[in-house]
Symmetry: C2
Subunit: 238 residues, 2 copies
C-alpha cells in the first residue's frame, strides 16, 4: 500500500478523513505510523496528496489531508483478456491495474473453462478489491472499468471493431503475422488468449477485423507474467 | 505444465521413463491424457522432445521418449534480488525462471525484513520446486542457480565486482543516473531492491562499482511484476 486510497464515505469534513478496517490495520501494522506522520493518500477517481495523522488508535484513525497532484497518466490500452483461472485473474488484474490499464474486457473463448465464470472472484466487490490493490500499489486513484463478455462471437463482431477503432490492434498469438512492436505511446487494443491458446476460428475472426500478432518469443509465460511483459514492450517509458 | 520435466531417476531405460506423483496427477487431471498421446518432455539440464504414453493409470505412467531439441536460449542476465517476502519470492522466482534467468542472487539489504531469511521457502527443496514450475511453464530444462547472500557489504565489495565484470550494470532505482535501456542482447547484471527501496548508503556502494539506475517510471510495481517488466524492457526479442 504505497498510497492510502480514500473513498467518499471516509471524509468527515472537506479536509479530514477517518479510517477503520483494512487500511487502518495496514497503517498500524505495516507502516507502524504515529500521530504527526505523513502518508501518501489519494481520493478514488481524484487527486493525490499528503495525509497527516492527527489521531490514531487500534480502532480508528483521523488524518488531515491535502490533495493537489494529478494521478499518474494511464496507459492508452484496452486489454481484452481471455478469462483466466480465478487466482491468476486476481494477480493479473492487480498487475495490469498497477501498470495503468484502465479498460479491461474479460472474454470467453473456446479454451476458457466454463466453470471459471461461476467463480466468486467475478462478483463486483471482489473485482473491485483487486483493482484497488493495484491502485494502492502504483499510487494511482483511477479505477479501471472491467467488463465481462461471455460470448466470443457477438463481442468480436459487434463490439470489438468499435472498441479497437483507430487503435493498434494486437493479439498475443504467435501464429498470425507479427506486427512491429515499436514501443510508442499509441492507443492500442491488446488481446491475450487463454492458457491453452486461441483456436484457429478465433484467430481468423480477429484477423478479419485487423488484429495482428505479437509474439512473446519461444517461451510460454503465465498470464500474470505475460501481461506485464507485453505492456512493458508496447509502452516503453523511462 | 507445458513441458513434463524428467529427472534421472525417472528413466527405467535409455528411452523409457516412469512417472508418479505430482506430474502424473497433472497429466491425468489437466491434460487428461491417454495411451498413445504425445506430450512435450525435457530432461533436467538436457534436451527437449516428445514422450508417447505407453501405459497410464492413476498410480503410474510410462512413456517412450525421444529427446532431440535444445532448450530455449537463456537470458544473458544475472539477477540480484533483495529478498522479498516469501509468497512474493515464490512468484518472482517462477516468473524470472520462466523468462530464462539462470543466475539469481538473493541479497539482504537494509530494508529486507530479517524474518524473511528464516522462511521455509528458502530451503533447497522448496526453492527448487519454484524453479521447476518456472521451467515447466516455459518449456525449459536448465535449472537456474540461486545463491543466498545475507550480508550486503561483503557481497558488494568482494563478489559483485567480479559477477558484474564486463556486463551492463543496472540497479532498478530511480534516484541515480539513468542508463540507456536500449533493448539488446548484452550481458547484464540487474539489481532489484526491496519493497521499501534501497537506502542511500547502498546506492552509493553500487554506484561506486559502476551501477547505473534504470527507472520503471512513476508507478511502483510489485517485485513479481517489476522483474518481468524490467527483463522485457532490457531484452526485447520478437
Amino acid at each position: 500500500m504505497n498510497l492510502i486510497l480514500l473513498f467518499e464515505e471516509d471524509f468527515i469534513a472537506a479536509d479530514t478523513i477517518r479510517l477503520t478496517g483494512r487500511r487502518l490495520r495496514h497503517i498500524n501494522e505495516i507502516h507502524r505510523a504515529q500521530t504527526g506522520d505523513i502518508l501518501t493518500v489519494g481520493q478514488l477517481g481524484g487527486k493525490i496528496g499528503a495525509g497527516e495523522i492527527t489521531t490514531i488508535t487500534k480502532s480508528s484513525l483521523e488524518m488531515h489531508v491535502e490533495l493537489q497532484s494529478e494521478s499518474p497518466a494511464p496507459l492508452p490500452v484496452t486489454l481484452v483478456l481471455a478469462l483466466p483461472r480465478p487466482r491468476v485473474l486476481n494477480r493479473t488484474l492487480i498487475a495490469a491495474t498497477s501498470m495503468g490499464v484502465k479498460k479491461i474486457y474479460l472474454l470467453h473463448t473456446n479454451r476458457v473453462e466454463k466453470s471459471f465464470w461461476h467463480s466468486p472472484v467475478l462478483n463486483e466487490e471482489k473485482l473491485k478489491h483487486s483493482l484497488i490493490l493495484g491502485l494502492e500499489q502504483a499510487k494511482d486513484t483511477l479505477l479501471p472499468d472491467v467488463y465481462l463478455r461471455k460470448r466470443f462471437r457477438p463481442f468480436v463482431e459487434d463490439e470489438l471493431p468499435l472498441i479497437a477503432q483507430n487503435t493498434r490492434k494486437l493479439v498475443a498469438h504467435p501464429e498470425i503475422s507479427v506486427a512491429s512492436s515499436d514501443a510508442e505511446e499509441i492507443a492500442t487494443t491488446l488481446i491475450v488468449g487463454p492458457e491453452g491458446g486461441l483456436i484457429p476460428y478465433e484467430i481468423e475472426k480477429l484477423s478479419a477485423i485487423g488484429f495482428a500478432g505479437i509474439s512473446l518469443g519461444q517461451r510460454i509465460l503465465r498470464v500474470e507474467t505475460a501481461v506485464p511483459v507485453l505492456l512493458a514492450r508496447l509502452f516503453r517509458k523511462e
